[in-house]
């Protein structure tokens, strides 16, 4: 949504504890309306926990956040009305057709009649999936499923879209196709996009602002260009990542994530194969 002066997302001392583990620790940041905000971090850094809190799937232990102008603790239902979410796992239902997936989503968000059919048709055209609308999603390729899910999450024209590792497990061609659609979404609808990623190229090329999360804190925050220049001449975003976390994004970090996170990621990758 254009013309807004308030940030689309603003966290206020946002914290989530699991027993003695502090997954997200008094986090403070904001994402400007209409921007693409990237969250980087090693497995277990707190990215998915943060995104779950911002989408109201998980209550914070303390602190709060404003999303699309609503408090996630006080007004979670209003937050849900104004956001879209594509989870790290594949949320499209493989037992339904692409059309049925979009139809169910449109109905869940109260889009009716001719308007619903128009938006579904446009979503298929936008994501280049019109030919496959009648096929069961289990027959789709990984890239097609991701594009379908993004289309699904945008049907109700949310103000803020959360993408949890949207290109995980995709081949380079499918990845670029998803990136193009994300850029077009921002351009066409002015949607604010918060995405988590492990892909440095994705963060560098797509995001206006990048936050590197480490052990529940923001270790670095800024535009990709500013972060790279602070790290030194010819530094890459991967260098920034190593400096910020002491770990490499491609798997040399010591945390590695919880068993459940790793299992989930592998499951997603298997479904995308």
């Amino acid at each position: 949504m254009t013309g807004l002066v308030r940030p689309a997302i603003e966290t206020i001392q946002l914290t989530r504890r699991y027993d003695s583990l502090v997954a997200v620790d008094h986090l403070e940041f904001s994402a400007q309306a209409g921007s693409i905000f990237g969250l980087l971090g090693p497995n277990g850094a707190g990215k998915s926990t943060l995104i779950k809190m911002l989408t109201t799937l998980l209550p914070p232990s303390s602190g709060t956040a404003m999303v699309a102008g609503f408090d996630i603790v006080q007004r979670p239902a209003d937050v849900r009305r104004n956001i879209g979410y594509v989870s790290q796992m594949l949320s499209a239902d493989g037992d339904l057709t692409g059309y049925e997936n979009l139809l169910i989503s449109a109905k869940l968000y109260g889009i009716r009649g001719a308007e619903r059919e128009r938006r579904i048709r446009e979503a298929f055209e936008f994501m280049d999936l019109t030919e496959s609308a009648g096929k069961r999603v289990k027959q789709y390729s990984g890239g097609m499923i991701r594009r379908l899910e993004i289309a699904q999450s945008m049907l109700h024209r949310p103000e803020v879209l959360f993408l949890d590792e949207p290109t995980i497990g995709l081949d380079p061609v499918a990845k670029r196709s998803v990136w193009d659609r994300i850029r077009e979404l921002r351009r066409g609808f002015g949607t604010t996009i918060l995405m988590t990623t492990h892909d440095m190229e994705e963060a560098d090329g797509l995001c206006d602002t990048v936050a590197i999360l480490h052990q529940g804190h923001i270790a670095s925050l800024g535009t990709p260009a500013a972060l790279k220049s602070q790290a030194g001449p010819d530094a890459t975003l991967n260098d920034v990542f190593i400096l910020s976390t002491g770990a490499s994004i491609d798997g040399n970090g010591e945390e590695g994530g919880a068993f459940r996170d790793v299992a989930r990621t592998r499951r997603t990758a298997r479904r995308l194969e």
Partner: protein, 273 residues
Amino acid sequence: MSQELAARHGAWSDTPAPVAFVLQMMVVAEADVRKLLHDPAELFTRMLQPVLWLVVFAPVFSRTRAIPTGNLRYLDFMAPGILAQSVMFGAIFYGISLIWERDQGVLHKFMVSPAPRAALVMGRALSSTIRGLFQAVLVYLIAFLMGVRLRLEPWQIAGVFLGVMFGAAIFSTFSLVAACIVKSRERFMGIGQVLTMPLFFASNAIYPLSMMPGWLKVLAKVNPLSYQVDWLRALMVNGGHSVFGLGLDLGMMALALAVFVAIATKLYPRILI
């Protein structure tokens, strides 16, 4: 308010809350029914158990004349119990689909939607009632072929269907509660087995309350299955009557459903944590 404008104010902002609630509930059920239509094999595989009870168990037990069933033949006495049992056995494992959908990522889509948790729970219960009705039709058919003296007046059949819907809704929401507590498919299968047999045997499904020892009678009287069987026995077979009274049967079924819906609604978000 146009739907584009409504979208800018958030989904469902132009619809009264109770209407939105019912429509959201129906969407949840619709998703499930569409899947069932793509692959209806499950409905038929569920028929094996009631067929065994009615075709093998009932005729053999009828010969013993050990169970006092008043003016009813044992086959007639047992048929409503087997209908209730087959609906319960189907519904009690319904929670595993919740765990499966969570593992697949499908559940997240519903959880970030504006649909209230209670609508998600009741939508699943509604979907379970549709499966239950299908089972009822098939059990009626088998019972008819077996010579059960069925009451075929439209109001009696409508009453039976109401009882079946209550049973399916009660035990599917009970199953959702169990799923939200145990959270894994393996543990759920174990729990499902542990729950079904005591519920079945501590009820009046295959023998009357009058035969039970005191302690079992107490359990049977707090078991919702007993009230469902009692209701069905009065309405399904010629010469059948309600021991508790139809008013109490209906009241207890409604109370059980309300309690399980309330608990499942409270626990529902826990499935993702």
